[in-house]
Amino acid sequence: MTAETETEAQGLTVRVESFVGPLDLLLHLCRTSEVDLANLPIRTITEQYLAHLESVQFQDLDTAGAFMVMAATLIYLKSKLLLPIDPEAPPDTLDEEGELLRQELAERLREYARVKELGAWLGEREAEQALLYGRTVGELPPPEDVPLEDLSVHLLHRAITRLIEEQRRQAPRQIEPNPLSVLERMGEVIELLRHTWSILFSSVAGQERIRAEWIVTLLALLELVRLGQARAHQAELFGEIVIESASATDTASAVPRSDDPTLGETAHD
């Protein structure tokens, strides 16, 4: 059983030809159906192109987009064929604009065919040269003056980007503690106010001045003030905020120590 599946797996290696662009695909279709590029048969080519489009594997969105643009152009041209301008004209006649578009497409295909051929030629050269081994790193000491001929802005940009990335990787990352919820912070303030008559905002929010913590504390305080659970006052701009218990019924703090709260408060200022 194993041998059988193995041979089957080996026998089924299908190599699907990949196209590097819409022109590549179109050119392939023209060649396999022996079509004269000078009068591109829009009808058949469009159908074949769309059929092939489904089997094309897209590397990225850009490439996919390029294939779609070509599909749209072909469909546009084909739609023009469906509306003959002149009933006496032979079939497959396009109007002026369509004809221009077809000419342009044919021209692009011809041009691409040349580039493809040149690319293939270069590929052959590269394959030949890959068999020759010479020095890639010199044995000689470096020259006193660095030749600047082969440098470019691009290389400079690459170098600085690499450096920045390197630094970023080395820098210690700051791990933020889970910020408290406003509700939790409100509970904490109430808990504190149960034992003392007044507290300082900074002692609740933390001396480290972590922004998130200060914001949460401020929101908690404002909420408590709104609910009438606490009072807050600030003697001067950017000065310390003093939080006081607002509940008159809070006998634990307000009534027995009615003599010292003002003292405590002024001592803080």
Binding site: V20, G21, P22, L23, C30, R31, T32, S33, E34, V35, D36, L37, A38, D62, T63, A66, M70, L100, Q103, E104, E107, R108, L109, R110, E111, Y112, A113, R114, V115, K116, E117, L118, G119, A120, W121, L122, G123, E124, R125, E126, A127, E128, Q129, A130, L131, L132, Y133, G134, R135, T136, V137, G138, E139, L140, D150, S152, V153, H154, L155, R158
Partner: protein, 213 residues
């Protein structure tokens, strides 16, 4: 006694970049670059005649001492690796456009290829096959690219004139220009009868490419 020809051999052996005839002339205090060339030619013949594993090739405007292709399999074995990484078809096409247009901008290249060539260009820049030659005076002032000496070396070209002659200039497909291409020859890779037939079609627009070697 050390003969000048032995010095030339040493220069080529020790240098990583192709050594120009002018450089050999300068180092050896020769009266002309022509004499330097002659020395290289004689050295090359000597290597060929002795059946040595090394040969001299002329690339990128200079001379290099490299191994012969026949010994490549052993070198690959020595390196314990596969053959060198080769450029993709997209890269080769892009290089072809740049090589023939010198310089070409990315919009030019995209127009001919019909796809976005940004990633391909980045790769070619990294491999030093092309470099930025400046900016084009057109909307967006895109970068212009040209091929480098490394390109010539990688493809074994003495200079850009070594590229196969293309029929006319490479056209950027905006205005439809008449460009009757000659019959194509030697399309790489494909060998189905239908393809071959299409290639003989005079309308298929070949560039008259005759691969060397």
């Amino acid at each position: 006694m050390t003969e000048p020809i032995d010095v030339v051999e040493a220069l080529l052996f020790a240098s990583e970049a192709p050594v120009e005839a002018e450089r050999i002339q300068e180092v050896l205090d020769l009266p002309s670059a022509g004499e330097a060339r002659e020395l290289v030619r004689v050295l090359g013949e000597r290597l060929d005649g002795q059946g040595r594993a090394l040969q001299i090739i002329e690339v990128g405007g200079g001379f290099r001492l490299v191994t012969r292709p026949e010994v490549a399999p052993w070198l690959v074995k020595l390196a314990r690796s596969r053959t060198r990484s080769r450029l993709s078809r997209s890269s080769l096409e892009t290089l072809a456009i740049i090589a023939y247009r010198q310089p070409a901008s990315r919009p030019d290249i995209d127009a001919v290829r019909g796809v976005n060539s940004e990633a391909v260009l980045d790769n070619l820049l990294d491999r030093r096959m092309v470099r930025i030659a400046g900016r084009k005076d057109s909307p967006g002032r895109p970068f212009l690219y040209e091929t480098t000496r490394d390109f010539l070396v990688a493809f074994g070209l003495r200079d850009l004139a070594d590229l196969p002659k293309a029929e006319g200039d490479l056209v950027i497909p905006e205005p439809p220009v008449d460009a009757a291409g000659a019959a194509g020859s030697g399309e790489g890779g494909e060998s189905s009868p239908a393809t071959d037939a299409a290639q003989q079609d005079p309308g298929s627009g070949g560039a008259g490419v005759t691969p060397r070697g």
